[in-house]
């Protein structure tokens, strides 16, 4: 009893710490500065986080545009395998999902960034971030979707075959539509993961604070911003970073509530 209170206590503590620091930013500097200042330059008391929020949203969106179709396609491909082959396929996706993000980031830095650089400088960019970030999200989407494909009742699949559907039509017209909610859950989980991911974006996005003009421009995300500046941040700067963490926390809590609702509907 006391021990399981730790779970509640920790959540409460996290909220208290993050928000109290964030609120002290509100009282010392004022939240309006987060959106009205002309730039993010904490050493000079300028705290505009809009470009950073835009950076987060853009990398996440781009990553989801890649990860959505690829993840779904991988899940469909998984249906082609049976028994132990599918187990192996699953394990491969799990391995991909289990590679430490810092290693994926390292690979992105040494492989994807130079590839992007060949198209257009500087290489470390929104595009590279989107691509590498999508790798972190694909396993989530693919595995959750595959599970929900598998939970489509056998009888519906048999009915499809009995009606003379081709195998492809059975997948596309029966299994996929019935799994819409599972796919949606996977995507929501994926978005949550993409927004919160730090190391990958930190290593491949270039970390320039700006609203990018093209996908080849570097960007900085909320998470990367915290990681980069926390080491030397003091006083108001420090609480400004906590304020950005609070923004992240709110995002994530909303996604948890949405995905909870989804998954309870599935059950």
């Amino acid at each position: 009893m006391v021990i399981s209170l730790t779970a509640i206590a920790v959540v409460a503590l996290i909220y208290v710490f993050i928000f109290s620091e964030a609120l002290s930013f509100g009282s010392n500097v004022g939240f309006l500065h987060l959106v009205t200042d002309e730039s993010w330059n904490p050493t000079n008391g300028k705290y505009n986080i809009i470009p950073i929020v835009v950076g987060t949203l853009l990398t996440t969106t781009l990553a989801m545009f890649i990860a959505g179709p690829v993840g779904l396609a991988s899940a469909i491909l998984g249906l082609e395998f049976r028994t132990y082959r599918r187990a192996i396929y699953r394990r491969c996706l799990e391995v991909l999902g289990g590679i430490p993000s810092v290693v994926i980031g390292l690979w992105g830095l040494t492989t994807i960034v130079p590839l992007v650089l060949k198209i257009r400088a500087p290489g470390a960019s929104l595009l590279a971030g989107g691509i590498v970030l999508s790798l972190m999200v694909i396993p989530t989407i693919a595995l959750v979707s595959l599970s929900s494909f598998e939970s489509v009742p056998e009888i519906d699949i048999k009915t499809g075959h009995a009606l003379g559907f081709s195998r492809w039509s059975v997948v596309w017209r029966i299994i996929v539509p019935q799994s819409r909610k599972g796919i949606a859950t996977g995507i929501i989980l994926g978005i949550g993961r993409a927004i919160g991911e730090t190391m990958v974006v930190l290593m491949v996005c270039g970390n320039v604070i700006q609203v990018p003009g093209t996908i080849f421009d570097p960007v900085r995300t909320l998470t990367a911003n915290i990681a980069l500046e926390m080491a030397y941040a003091l006083d108001d700067h420090r609480s400004a970073l906590f304020a950005t963490a609070a923004v992240l926390l709110i995002f994530v809590t909303i996604f948890v509530i949405i995905s909870d609702r989804f998954s309870s509907e599935i059950q």
Binding site: A7, I14, F17, S74, T223
Partner: protein, 275 residues
């Protein structure tokens, strides 16, 4: 024609993740293997990691991860038992705990890092230390471990509990002598998976366990873990990429080894329980 095109699309897109997985592994092995040698594994890093080895880094990693695992086994198992065995009695309470865990599971690791820095390092006064890092990781590992352990406990058929009670066993004995041993495999697997996650974690440790690369002398010492070493070599040390790849290879190797070892322990354990 349309069908054929979409089939090709599925095959092409769907096969991508596996191809990329192979690409990553091959890339890192190719560039990392040449750096790995006995001295790389046994020496302390020098010249910001460009030379020397990673022995102290490995030791710090093992310290952080094992402390985190020990604490979260204790707390996590207790919580999982309460959630699965007492959810009927304490419905509201369990609902709140579960909800908290769901939120905790979604919190970005960098936010854990901030929290760990503010709470463990500063309020608790542990500073940048292995202990702060381990405690931060514990908090991160809990939701996942608890979910898996609870699932395992729930899979134990109810009839065993009833039988235990019907044989006049005390509730605690029913839980610890019958239900928990039955779920031991799931619990161990949950533990390994969360251990692997802890070992992969970087962002949460940036501001808690610190960067100091020498051999840690106690848990209150700062210690640089593998993932941070990789990050630092890749981003802050010009010419550190090969070394970063080699360290990444060691990290992946450790992850695989831990998985293998503990899965076989779980197997052995289950066989032993029979006697």
């Amino acid at each position: 024609m349309k069908v054929l095109l979409s089939k090709i699309a599925v095959l092409g897109l769907g096969g991508l993740p596996i191809l990329v997985l192979a690409w990553i592994l091959i890339d890192i092995s190719y560039s990392g293997l040449s750096e790995i040698s006995w001295s790389f594994l046994t020496e302390v890093p020098t010249n910001a990691g460009r030379s020397g080895g990673i022995s102290s880094v490995i030791v710090s990693t093992l310290w952080v991860v094992s402390i985190a695992t020990m604490i979260s086994t204790f707390i996590g198992l207790a919580t999982a038992i309460i959630l699965s065995e007492l959810s009927a009695k304490w419905e509201k309470f369990c609902l709140i705990v579960r909800w908290s865990l769901d939120i905790l599971a979604g919190v970005p690791s960098i936010v854990f890092g901030l929290f760990g820095n503010a709470f463990f390092s500063q309020v608790c006064g542990f500073g940048f230390s292995i202990l702060s890092g381990a405690l931060t990781l514990t908090v991160m590992m809990l939701p996942f471990f608890i979910r898996v352990a609870e699932e395992g406990l729930r899979q134990v058929p109810n009839v065993y509990r009833k039988t235990g009670y019907a044989l006049g066993m005390r509730p605690l004995s029913v839980t610890f002598k019958i239900v928990v041993p039955q779920a031991s495999k799931a619990i161990v697997i949950g533990l390994v998976l969360s251990l692997a996650r802890a070992m992969s974690e970087t962002a949460a440790l940036l501001f808690t366990s610190g960067y100091v690369e020498r051999w840690p002398e106690s848990v209150f010492d700062s210690g640089r873990v593998l993932s941070i070493h990789i990050y630092d070599l890749a981003m802050n040390v010009p010419g550190g990429i090969e070394r970063a790849n080699a360290s990444a290879l060691v990290l992946i190797g450790l992850l695989i080894a831990i998985n293998l070892i503990i899965y076989s322990i779980a197997d052995f354990w289950q066989r032993k329980r029979v006697v």
